[in-house]
């Protein structure tokens, strides 16, 4: 059994050494920078990268890709761990309050963390998790059944239908997360009223949509890609800031509502527990950022439907951006009476 582990390592090594020279050039300074920042005797054991959702899911795939490229650029070993439970609460709590801040534990988290930080417990705050590297962001696709009653309607028309006949159009939502918050905000702004049917994730909602048990489902691209390509569902709107290249005809929420700040995307980044030594933190930050800059990884992200963004290339810029997102969500929670 040891042979295949070795052959996998060899394969990965081969992939690493065969990167096209031009790209290696633009990131070569990245590698040098990492080497310079490497603290003495760190790391001596694998770096644990925690994912707060189950294996095989969207966040997990993103994390494993990042881990793979991190290993490629630093030569350090990683170990991806799924610390699941409580829809992310257990994993976030571990990272924020229980993990050792010694640089050996990092987490791939998202803005879904804010709800856990503010609404669900008092032990830790969102500032206990320090962001170091931006990964990507993706919005929810609002999809309808391609053979259903809404197949020819635009999202704007659907909204006005929901306003005329409130509570008749069934939408699949995941309670307590951005699926629900997003629909609530849309309703508040447009005056539409949907019937929100609760599900445990995006995929069960898509299943229900296919069986005509709901009229609109919300899903990330990877959850709905095959149904889109197979023309079983049609995307009517996207909740991110820009339109998605995979559904270019679907307007953003801002376009439909005429607003500028209705954005409900999942933004992913790498975070460390607060208090890691400055040199280790700098090393890890540089390593992850360099890994993310790898064009191959960016291409992988894009194939998954996630949009990478290179402008947040220092922890400080990233922290500022995340604070922006946090403020927006906090405002929504206060307005919807979830937070004082």
């Amino acid at each position: 059994m040891r042979n295949w582990r070795r052959s996998i390592a060899t394969a990965l090594l081969a992939v690493a050494t065969f990167s096209p020279p031009a790209h290696a050039q633009s990131n070569a300074d990245g590698k040098a920078k990492i080497e310079k920042l490497k603290p003495k005797d760190f790391p001596t054991q694998p770096i644990e990268i925690d994912v707060v959702y189950p294996a095989g899911g969207g966040m997990d795939i993103n994390a494993r890709l990042v881990a793979k490229f991190f290993e490629k650029w630093t030569g350090a070993k990683t170990l991806v761990n799924n610390r699941t439970g409580g829809a992310g609460l257990v994993g976030h709590t571990f990272l924020a309050s229980q993990a050792e801040a010694d640089g050996y534990t990092a987490g791939v988290i998202s803005n879904l963390m804010f709800a856990d930080a503010w609404l669900r417990q008092n032990r830790w705050k969102e500032t206990d998790l320090e962001p170091i590297a931006y990964l990507n962001a993706e919005g929810l696709n609002l999809v309808v059944n391609a053979s259903g009653p809404f197949k020819d309607k635009s999202f704007k028309e659907i909204l006005s239908l929901a306003k005329e006949k409130p509570g008749t159009i069934r939408v699949a939502v995941v309670p307590g997360s951005i699926y629900e918050y997003m629909i609530e905000q849309v309703e508040a702004i447009s005056g539409a009223k949907f019937l929100k049917v609760p599900f445990q994730g995006g995929a069960p909602g898509v299943a229900a949509l296919l069986g005509d048990n709901v009229d609109i489902a919300n899903a990330f691209y990877s959850e709905v890609r095959s149904q889109l390509e197979g023309h079983r569902v049609l995307a009517k709107a996207i909740t991110s800031a820009q339109r998605s290249p995979f559904a270019p005809d679907a307007p953003t929420l801002n376009e439909v509502l005429g607003t500028t700040d209705v954005v409900w995307a999942v933004t992913r980044w790498v975070a460390l527990p607060k208090g890691v030594l400055a040199d280790r933190k700098a090393y890890l930050a540089a390593s992850f950022i360099t890994a993310v800059r790898d064009p191959e990884l960016q291409e992988e992200f894009r194939k998954l439907g996630a949009v990478p963004d290179l402008q947040y290339d220092t922890p400080e810029k990233l922290a500022a951006y995340i604070t922006q997102i946090a403020e927006r969500e906090r405002a929504f929670f206060i307005k919807s009476n979830r937070l004082k």
Binding site: P54, A55, V90, P175, V197, A203, S222, S226, Q227
Partner: protein, 499 residues
């Protein structure tokens, strides 16, 4: 492409040394996963997922899916030999399988289990090959109202599998439902019975509960008796099922296959529910139900067939519609996506070689597993010869590894130990443990579907009657209940009925 052509192409893909090798490795690991208590298919798949990145899509999925159904083969081994389930879907095999072992028929039980698994696996694969799209379409039509009544049917069936006191069984079922309620309410997102603890807010992990409830408590019970009595009861008389065994087993295997396949097909269904319900049904249709729990072979043949068939059933929504029905198929979906293959309506047209290769690999895997499991029966039975003094610490250690591996949380180990003590005490007071597991698994499904259905429904409870499939199941439930009451009332005193 014609189905048979596709399948032949698939065999062409799988029957290459590389792909075959990974199929074999997966089968081997799957069997071991099943044998090792606490480490179930989900844990094994999560651990091995990274190892598949360097492999081709077919190699990767062949290995991973082989681990999934391999675990259904292997899980019965420890259930039969030491009354400790290898994973949740093998719990019911403990009930009669272990009793068969105590009577010296361990080999027979193991044999029937392997053969039943093979037959179920292969038959359900044939159905998958030809009817996958149709069945997938049917499965998605089932909405929350249908799920609600189906789970209700399952709960009623649970009551049918209770050997001893019905009231005590009911307590355990209700306790299971309460334990499932500890955590976060999926519908509203609020915490229930969490009392401020993050760990409680996450709920109890099924694997830890099962391995504690059945495994640790079994060890505690055995420790209490003197160790010598263990060796005496572990005689091994015959290793192969006789004609009477075959005659008794073929029908349960068929029923188990059908039931398991149907349950795996429905999103949310899994090998666990399939095995429990198969046991309940076998007990219901058998001539002497009171003998269940003393070593009836039907109680092994049916559930073992059911849990294997459920694996194939679970693949259908994944392969045809790209919808994973349970955490394991969700993981397989992730593995496919990482490989750049998107399961769903376009799977067959975009990657026919992978599609058919995966299906062919499952046929081949079942054969490999039959070969792995049958001749090794004699070897596994030797496990009984290991002194219990050595065996039980190893089982405990492995159980800890398994429990910890899902969430990396010490809390799960405490859950395991706690339920071990609870199970031990429950046995003393003659409470059956299986209903608790069923309550734990079925109650949240029932609750979620019920509440979803009520939200969807414009006219309240009428939705269950307005939808034809839901109505049909309700009628079936009513018929079963009426029949049960009538047959129980025939010449039984009230005390006998309730006791």
């Amino acid at each position: 492409m014609d189905t048979l052509d596709g399948l032949i192409q698939g065999f062409g893909v799988i029957l290459t040394p590389g792909n075959l090798y990974y199929c074999f490795i997966g089968s081997l690991i799957g069997t071991l996963t099943g044998v090792l208590p606490g480490i179930g298919p989900l844990a094994a798949l999560s651990l091995l997922l990274p190892a598949t990145y360097g492999l081709s899509p077919v190699e990767s999925i062949a290995m991973l899916s082989a681990i999934f159904y391999g675990a259904m083969y292997g899980g019965s081994i420890t259930s039969i030999l030491v009354n400790i389930p290898g994973e949740a879907a093998s719990v019911v095999t403990c009930l009669d399988g272990y009793q068969m072992a105590r009577k010296g028929r361990a080999g027979v039980a193991l044999g029937i289990s392997a053969i039943g698994s093979f037959l179920a696996g292969t038959v359900s694969l044939v159905i998958l090959t030809y009817l996958s799209p149709t069945l997938a379409e049917f499965a998605v039509r089932l909405g929350p109202p249908e799920y609600t009544v189906l789970v209700l049917l399952g709960l009623i069936c649970t009551l049918m599998m209770i050997h001893g006191s019905l009231i005590k069984g009911l307590v355990m079922l209700a306790l299971g439902a309460l334990l499932a309620a500890v955590g976060t309410d999926v519908v509203t997102g609020t915490e229930r019975f969490a009392f401020g603890s993050v760990n409680f807010a996450a709920g109890f992990d099924l694997v830890s509960v099962v391995i504690g409830l059945f495994g640790v408590s079994e060890i505690l019970s055995n420790i209490e008796e003197t160790l010598h009595s263990q060796v005496v009861t572990r005689r091994i008389s015959n290793l192969w099922p006789n004609r009477a065994d075959w005659r008794a087993s073929w029908a349960p295997m068929l029923r188990g296959t059908g039931l398991g396949f149907g349950l795996g097909l429905v999103p949310g269904g899994s090998p666990v529910t399939a095995s429990f319900l198969s046991y309940a049904i076998e007990r219901r249709v058998a001539d002497k139900p009171e003998e269940f729990g003393t070593g009836r072979i039907e109680g092994v043949a049916g559930p073992e067939a059911a849990n294997n068939a459920a694996v194939a059933g679970g693949m259908i929504p994944l392969l045809s519609l790209g919808i994973p029905g349970n955490p394991v198929t969700a993981l397989l979906m992730g593995a496919l996506i990482i490989q750049g293959v998107q399961p769903g309506p376009m799977f067959l047209s975009q990657h026919p070689d992978v599609f058919w290769g995966v299906i062919a690999s499952m046929y081949v895997g079942n054969v490999i597993l039959l070969i792995l499991n049958l001749p090794l029966v004699g070897l596994w039975v030797q496990l009984l010869r290991v002194p219990y003094q050595v065996l039980f610490p190893i089982i405990l250690l492995l159980a800890m590894v398994g429990s910890y591996s899902s969430n990396k949380n010490m809390f799960d180990l405490w859950v395991m130990l706690g339920f071990g003590v609870f199970g031990y005490v429950a046995r003393k007071f003659r409470y059956e443990l299986s209903p608790l597991v069923l309550g734990l698994v079925l109650a949240p499904m029932f609750e979620q579907s019920l509440r979803q259905a009520m939200v969807m429904s414009p006219d309240g409870l009428m939705i269950f009657i307005n939808r034809p499939m839901s109505l049909a199941v309700l009628v079936l439930i009513a018929a079963i209940v009426v029949y049960s009451i009538i047959s129980r009332n025939k010449g039984r005193t009230i005390n006998e009925k309730l006791a």
